[in-house]
């Protein structure tokens, strides 16, 4: 019987007060085990982004409890949550959010700088992370010199360079064409399967969600449906380093 990695208990999040009060999350209960690949789906305004922010420890619930590895996140200070993020969480965004005029290598090293690793350790880890997303040889290219798919790979390398327990991906394929989207999904699946990283992904595209083992549907701040996906889209067991860099 394994412990939940993440547990939300009756989580509510409201914005504004009085007449303009908006209940973005209205009593969410969710439990995620280590190693799961969960797709969070729902129309815009359904609360999935708010849920993602709370799961990513960027935001705190207005009421309810959020247990991460048994710790009460809702009681942590801003800096304590920052330390939790840098230790256990990796983020991938729709807009990549790479530092401009900065090499892929330096972008990937960034989280390690905040962790205080020395230069040698940083370089080794960043090289390894870039290799694991199939970008060996692209270390010194800046974001403008990379395609969208490559930029998202750099962002993924940055997210996993700290060897996080959870990878939070917010519409990771939203800015990419279909082929690149499937490549990125293949990468996430491989990271989940081969490295045991728990992946939480927000998406509104059904064929992207189809890679996940579990789909959680949000509607009006509530979980409408929480189903297992018995037949996730299979990804050939290739060495991701061999994926053609495009």
């Amino acid at each position: 019987m394994s412990e939940s990695l993440i547990q939300l208990i009756d989580v509510k999040r409201k914005y504004g007060t009085g007449a303009s009060e908006l209940m973005a999350l209205n009593g969410i209960n969710l439990s995620i085990m280590p190693g799961e690949f969960v797709a969070i789906m729902g129309p815009s305004g359904s609360g999935k982004s708010t849920a993602m922010n709370i799961l990513g420890c960027l935001d705190t619930p207005s009421s309810g409890q959020y247990l991460f590895k048994g710790a009460h996140v809702e009681a942590l200070s801003r800096d304590q949550r920052a330390r939790l993020r840098r230790r256990y969480l990796g983020f991938v965004f729709q807009g990549f959010n790479l530092l401009a005029r900065t090499s892929a290598q330096e972008n990937v090293e960034l989280p390690l700088l905040y962790r205080g690793d020395n230069a040698v350790k940083r370089r080794e880890a960043a090289t390894k992370a870039l290799a694991s997303v199939g970008l060996s040889g692209w270390e010194h290219h800046t974001p403008t010199e990379l395609s969208g798919g490559q930029q998202q790979r750099v962002a993924i390398a940055r997210a996993i360079v700290t060897e996080p327990a959870v990878l939070l991906a917010d519409e990771p394929t939203g800015n990419l064409d279909t082929q690149r989207s499937h490549e990125i999904m293949g990468l996430l699946v491989a990271l989940n399967r081969d490295h045991g990283i728990t992946v939480l992904m927000v998406t509104h595209e059904a064929d992207m969600a189809a890679y996940a083992h579990r789909m959680v549907h949000f509607t009006d701040g509530k979980i409408a449906k929480d189903v297992a996906n018995p037949h996730p889209t299979m990804v050939a067991s290739v060495d991701v380093g061999q994926i053609v860099s495009t």
Binding site: G56, L58, R87, L89, L110, P111, Y114, R115, R158
Partner: protein, 405 residues
């Protein structure tokens, strides 16, 4: 943590080289202006001090007449001085180091078949100490020569060069020099003092007072009394008692105007150098305002930069940067920028004041204090004006910041 934040700050400066340069331009100009002004001001003060002290340190020059001339002789009808006046001053006034009675005459000196228009002074050996003169070679007068009015002379470097040429301070010693109708033997050569505000001081011939009186002017009068004070003496009280003594000796009644004047180099030096100091301070203060403006420039650019980099800040916060780390990063960026501006300013100021000092003919004095002070001040400006933008960055909400377009 400090080290990695420092690296981050340096990288972001390096990524925006042009903007970083424009940011620090204000500080560069401010620091350069302050240091150049103060350095040149100090040089000017020093130049004035040097010029005046080359006349003689702590020197009082007593001249007949009421005017305050720059060493001119008394006006007609006013009685001149005697040797006895010099002796009285030496014996009756405390704090006097030396008194030299001085007579002078403009003459043409001839030697080696060359003519040279110069000034001949007649005085005692005290003349050399009151005027801060050093000998380049030879000797000064002995007692017998002074008493008897012997035909000997000591010449200045300009006279030596014009009449004898050759090696500085050497040739000419032991030669004959004709002044008006008599020849004298050159027994000493003065070390050069160079040009000063008072003209070429090296263009002189010195003979014993009695020699001048008997063979050149034909009068026993003395036109000027040179009184040098002991070191560290304040000139005011000494000047007062000197004035009192001279009034008595010249039998001036109560209420009569002085028929002599006392020219005080110490007072002159103080007046002039305090004037230049005030000017230096004033110019430095004006320049310091530009330093302040430079600081505001830094704050301006840092604020723009924080807004522009909102998404970047959001990302940093999301991947686990602490509030204090973001604050420190932006603060260090500001401080590194302004300190860099200070350094560049110091380099420019050093070069500029070196060149300008040459043009203005004042000495170049590298003042370590003002350089250090400007540097520390410019770094301080970085802290002061960098804090507000840095705090703004650190307190951003990562979710909002990431959404920022």
């Amino acid at each position: 943590m400090l080290y990695s934040v420092f690296i981050l700050a340096l990288r972001s400066i390096q990524r925006n080289l042009l903007r970083s340069f424009l940011t620090i331009l204000g500080i560069v100009i401010g620091v350069a202006a302050v240091i150049t002004m103060v350095t040149l001001g100090n040089g000017a003060t020093q130049a004035i001090k040097t010029q005046i002290s080359s006349l003689g340190t702590n020197l009082l020059m007593v001249n007949p007449g009421q005017r305050q001339p720059g060493g001119g002789s008394g006006s007609g009808g006013v009685p001149q001085f005697t040797e006895a006046d010099a002796e009285a001053i030496q014996s009756q006034i405390g704090g006097v180091a030396a008194v030299a009675p001085q007579g002078r005459s403009s003459v043409t000196v001839v030697a080696n078949g060359r003519n040279w228009a110069s000034t001949v002074y007649g005085s005692t050996n005290e003349w050399f100490s009151t005027g801060n003169w050093k000998l380049a070679s030879g000797r000064i007068f002995d007692l017998d020569e002074q008493r008897a009015g012997a035909a000997v002379c000591v010449i200045g470097e300009t006279v030596r060069r014009e009449l004898y040429s050759g090696t500085v301070g050497k040739t000419g010693l032991g030669n004959q020099l004709r002044i008006k109708q008599f020849s004298c033997n050159v027994i000493g050569i003065l070390a050069a003092k160079g040009q000063s505000g008072m003209g070429d001081q090296d263009d002189t011939v010195i003979v014993p007072l009695h020699t001048l009186q008997r063979r050149v002017t034909g009068s026993r009068k003395v036109s000027t009394l040179l009184v040098s004070m002991q070191d560290g003496r304040d000139s005011a009280p000494l000047k007062a008692s000197l004035r009192q003594l001279m009034r008595e000796r010249r039998k001036l009644a109560e209420g009569d105007d002085d028929n002599f004047n006392i020219f005080d180099t110490q007072q002159l030096a103080e007046t002039l150098s305090s004037t230049t100091k005030v000017l230096t301070t004033l110019l430095g203060a004006v320049a310091a305002v530009s330093l302040l403006v430079g600081g505001i420039g830094i704050m301006n650019i840092m604020l723009v930069s924080v807004t522009e980099r909102t998404r970047e800040i959001g990302l940093r916060l999301a991947i686990g940067a602490l509030e204090s780390e973001v604050l420190l990063q932006f603060l260090i960026e500001a401080v590194v920028l302004s300190a860099l501006g200070g350094l560049i300013g110091i380099v420019i100021a050093t070069a500029a004041s070196y060149v300008l000092a040459g043009v203005m003919r004042v000495p170049f004095l590298f003042d370590i204090t003002i350089n250090l002070l400007s540097f520390v001040f410019s770094a301080g400006i970085g802290v002061l004006f960098g804090y507000f933008p840095a705090r703004r960055a650190a307190q951003m909400d990562p979710i909002e910041a990431l959404r920022h377009e």
